[in-house]
């Protein structure tokens, strides 16, 4: 499918960082839209998590990593992920790597993010049946993560 002309033009002038922020805000908007009906709780949680994923990526990247005397800047998690897994003893998933980076650099929201990841990840084990109170809790976590990421 062809990308709309305006969006393509925007992509040309936006930085990776701005793109992430726009993606985060877009997912947050979807989350609020889905939240209008209680039967969409699982997708409210999923969209809250994916909004927060882009907020924390906006916060963390570009990431400067020191290796010996050299400092390398990685523009995105996609750029850093293969390097991390090649140089680390343990292989992490993309989601676990983001959690790891938050634990290392932004402990203030690391636990909220890990919780939101669990809300989203465990949906599979609950046959996608989530109470409204879980999706409300997810929205509160997203709000806190967003506030922190935009302030820092």
């Amino acid at each position: 499918m062809q990308r709309p002309l305006f969006a393509t033009a925007l992509r040309g002038i936006m930085s990776k960082s701005e793109e992430r922020l726009i993606h985060a805000l877009h997912n947050e908007k979807v989350c609020k839209y889905l939240d209008k009906k209680p039967e969409h709780s699982d997708w409210v949680i999923t969209s809250a998590f994916y909004a927060s994923l882009h907020f924390v990526s906006y916060l963390l990247f570009p990431l400067k990593v020191k290796a010996g005397e050299n400092v390398t800047e990685y523009v995105s998690i996609n750029a850093y992920y293969p390097v991390f897994n090649r140089t680390s003893i343990f292989k992490l998933s993309l989601h676990s790597l983001l959690c790891h980076l938050l634990e290392k650099n932004h402990q203030e929201i690391a636990d909220d993010y890990a919780l939101l990841l669990d809300y989203s990840k465990q949906s599979r084990y609950l046959n996608h049946q989530f109470d409204r109170e879980v999706s409300n809790a997810a929205k509160r976590r997203l709000e806190r993560i967003k506030e922190y990421c935009l302030k820092n």
Binding site: F90, A110, Q122, Q129, D131
Partner: protein, 163 residues
């Protein structure tokens, strides 16, 4: 095919590393009839049939560390945060990496204070993780809808239920 459960007891210790065995009340679950936890470990380790015996010892020793850590973590969670964990699932991601999945009451799971359980998990795993052992901890709300098949399918074959 239904789920087959093997109860591990001290009378029938199926896992040995030195003198240790998995604690009583851990269950091994599978879809395959006639497969014991011992068979599963062999299958897991001997995909490469020339695997060194050292790897077997390493795996079992790490599994014991993970299960021992899980039980201590349950106690700490209750004592320090007042959060009762109802059961634990363990997944072996590889010889040295294990995932713990703990079920808690949904009221605890959604409460604002539950973030403190993640803080305790972060601190506890930092104390046990080394260059040769890696543990991750996740939580799941307890529910009638808990899909045991999906858990086993994803590799959470070791199960402990709080008595």
């Amino acid at each position: 095919m239904g789920i087959i459960t093997e109860r591990l007891t001290t009378k029938a210790p199926v896992l040995k590393a030195g003198k240790s065995t998995l604690p009583v009340n851990w269950l091994f679950r599978t879809f395959e009839p006639g497969i014991s936890s011992e068979d599963s470990i062999n299958a897991y380790l001997f995909e490469n049939r020339y695997v060194h015996a050292f790897q077997r010892t390493t795996f079992i020793s790490n599994l014991l560390t993970a299960s021992g850590f899980a039980l201590n973590f349950l106690k700490a969670l209750d004592a320090e945060k007042g959060i009762k964990c109802l059961s634990v699932f363990i997944k072996a991601a590889d010889l040295r990496s294990f995932e713990l999945l703990l079920t808690v009451d949904v009221g605890d799971f959604v409460s604002e204070e539950f973030v403190s359980a993640y803080k305790l998990a972060r601190e506890s795993k930092a104390a046990v993780n080394t260059d040769s052992f890696n543990l991750t901890i996740s939580f799941l709300p307890n529910s009638d809808q808990l899909d045991a098949e999906a858990l086993i399918c994803d590799g959470f074959t070791w199960h402990y239920e709080q008595k």
